[in-house]
């Protein structure tokens, strides 16, 4: 009996791992600043939300994504709602892409991810600059965007391997 409950708990943790990872990443602000790499930064929540919304929508609830966006705004110091808006647009974009794709491939996902983050980042930073008078370093933003795009393919492969392990190959 104890064995069964242990298996259920582990199973639940594994199934909810993407949402846990999302909350950890927004609370922790994965930045790898201590590596002291001057031109290295990426947006892990973007990768996570896009991949899981595309492949397994039910593993990330929209409500949770909204809340994680609010938390991110508090941690980063952005106006409340801006990250939620960006995250939800990524979800919408992934859902739209899922609807129009007949033959999914990781390369197509990757290219659509690039288009999505370009639009979402433009929208997000336009709001920040135009309505909230934020001053931004555009070089840093471009570097962040490029690394987010490049790291998507690595993270996507890792997530796929994880999916196969936890949910079985038929669900991938």
């Amino acid at each position: 009996m104890v064995e069964i409950s242990k298996i259920t708990i582990t199973n639940k943790i594994l199934r909810y791992a993407p949402i846990l990872l999302l909350f950890i990443s927004v609370l922790n602000e994965f930045d790898f600043n201590y590596l002291e790499l001057k031109y290295f930064s990426f947006n892990f929540p973007f990768i996570l939300i896009f991949y899981w919304s595309l492949k397994k929508t039910e593993s990330l609830g929209y409500g949770f994504i909204f809340v994680s966006g609010l938390i991110n705004d508090v941690v980063v110091g952005f106006p409340m709602g801006i990250s939620s808006l960006a995250y939800l647009f990524i979800c919408g974009s992934a859902a739209y892409f899922k609807n129009i794709t007949l033959n999914p491939s990781i390369f197509k996902d990757w290219m659509f991810f690039l288009a999505t983050i370009l639009v979402v980042n433009s929208m997000m930073y336009s709001i920040l600059v135009l309505f909230f008078s934020f001053s931004l370093n555009y070089n840093d933003l471009i570097v962040n965007l490029i690394f987010t795009f490049l790291l998507y393919i690595i993270c996507a492969n890792l997530f796929e391997a994880y999916q196969k392990l936890v949910f079985g190959s038929q669900n991938v």
């Binding site: 909350f23 609370l27 922790n28 409340m80 709602g81 939800l88 919408g92 859902a95 739209y96």
Partner: protein, 283 residues
């Protein structure tokens, strides 16, 4: 774009944004509107939004501290590893620095020898005796007498008036010599008076003890401007001590215009002292 493809686009968009997905409690469009409302309220500085923000901050900062623990551990490990590599790199840097200092030392030695030769010409060269290390056997703190008893006496060539040092700092002089022991009068004693020089400015003066843990500068005219934290050295006048032994630093008292001297050495912490004499070299 023909009508059917436009319809497909609209259907896909509607399905993505308007429909509540499987196992989803809210539709995307509802949450997007909610985010926009939050943004608009933040923009107009709506008070309840600030309260929500403050409440979220309280929870988030505490949670963030806990959640960051594993990453902080990783960070610490990474920094430890990095510092090991830094030590490795530093080793070579320090090695080359030592080489440079060795070269500088050779130049310094030449200057010292030259200084020695020139002082002999003007008959101002002072020879140091071999230093005698003595252990303090009694250091009872009396309000009337600030002195120490050491375990070396005339048997060990201790003579009256010899200088007593802690590391390179002057702390007093020998005032009583017995066969196996000696008494040292500390600079802080009321009866201690030694000629000193104050740098910067090269002002000659007398350092007197106060019976407390510090000394004072005496017999100095008021028009001499002594800077705060000036350093006090022995002046060598009187021929008892050689010039240039560091003694302490000036602390100015603005109220009574007194120049207090804080000694470099802490007299209450002495365990061993060095005893030396300085005589004019006749060779």
């Amino acid at each position: 774009m023909d009508t059917s493809s436009r319809d497909d686009f609209v259907i896909a968009i509607r399905s993505a944004f308007l429909k509540k997905g499987n196992k989803q409690r809210f539709s995307l469009i509802f949450l997007i509107f909610l985010s926009l409302i939050f943004l608009a309220l933040t923009k107009i500085d709506f008070k309840p939004i600030n309260y929500i923000k403050i409440s979220i901050r309280e929870v988030v900062y505490r949670s963030s501290f806990l959640v960051s623990a594993p990453e902080n551990y990783l960070k610490k490990t990474y920094q430890n590893i990095q510092s090991h590599f830094v030590i490795y790199n530093d080793y070579f840097e320090i090695k080359s620095e030592i080489e440079k200092l060795k070269a500088q030392k050779n130049v310094d030695q030449f200057i010292l020898k030259e200084n020695e030769r020139l002082k002999k010409i003007i008959d101002d060269y002072v020879a140091e005796s071999e230093e005698i290390v003595a252990k303090i056997i009694i250091d009872k703190d009396s309000p009337f007498l600030r002195s120490l008893i050491v375990n070396k006496g005339s048997k060990n060539n201790i003579k009256l008036g010899m200088a007593v040092l802690d590391r390179s700092y002057l702390i007093g002089k020998v005032v009583e010599v017995n066969y196996l022991t000696s008494r040292i009068l500390l600079l802080s004693d009321l009866n201690s008076k030694i000629p000193v020089i104050i740098e910067p400015g090269s002002f000659q003066s007398i350092l007197s003890g106060t019976g407390q843990d510090h000394g004072i500068i005496q017999y100095l005219k008021e028009n001499y401007l002594i800077e705060e934290s000036s350093t006090i050295y022995t002046s060598g006048a009187g021929g008892l001590f050689k010039a240039g032994i560091p003694v302490g630093k000036i602390e100015k008292n603005e109220l009574n215009k007194e120049n207090k001297v804080n000694f470099f050495s802490d007299f209450s912490q002495l365990r061993f002292v060095k005893i030396k004499s300085f005589t004019k070299d006749t060779d």
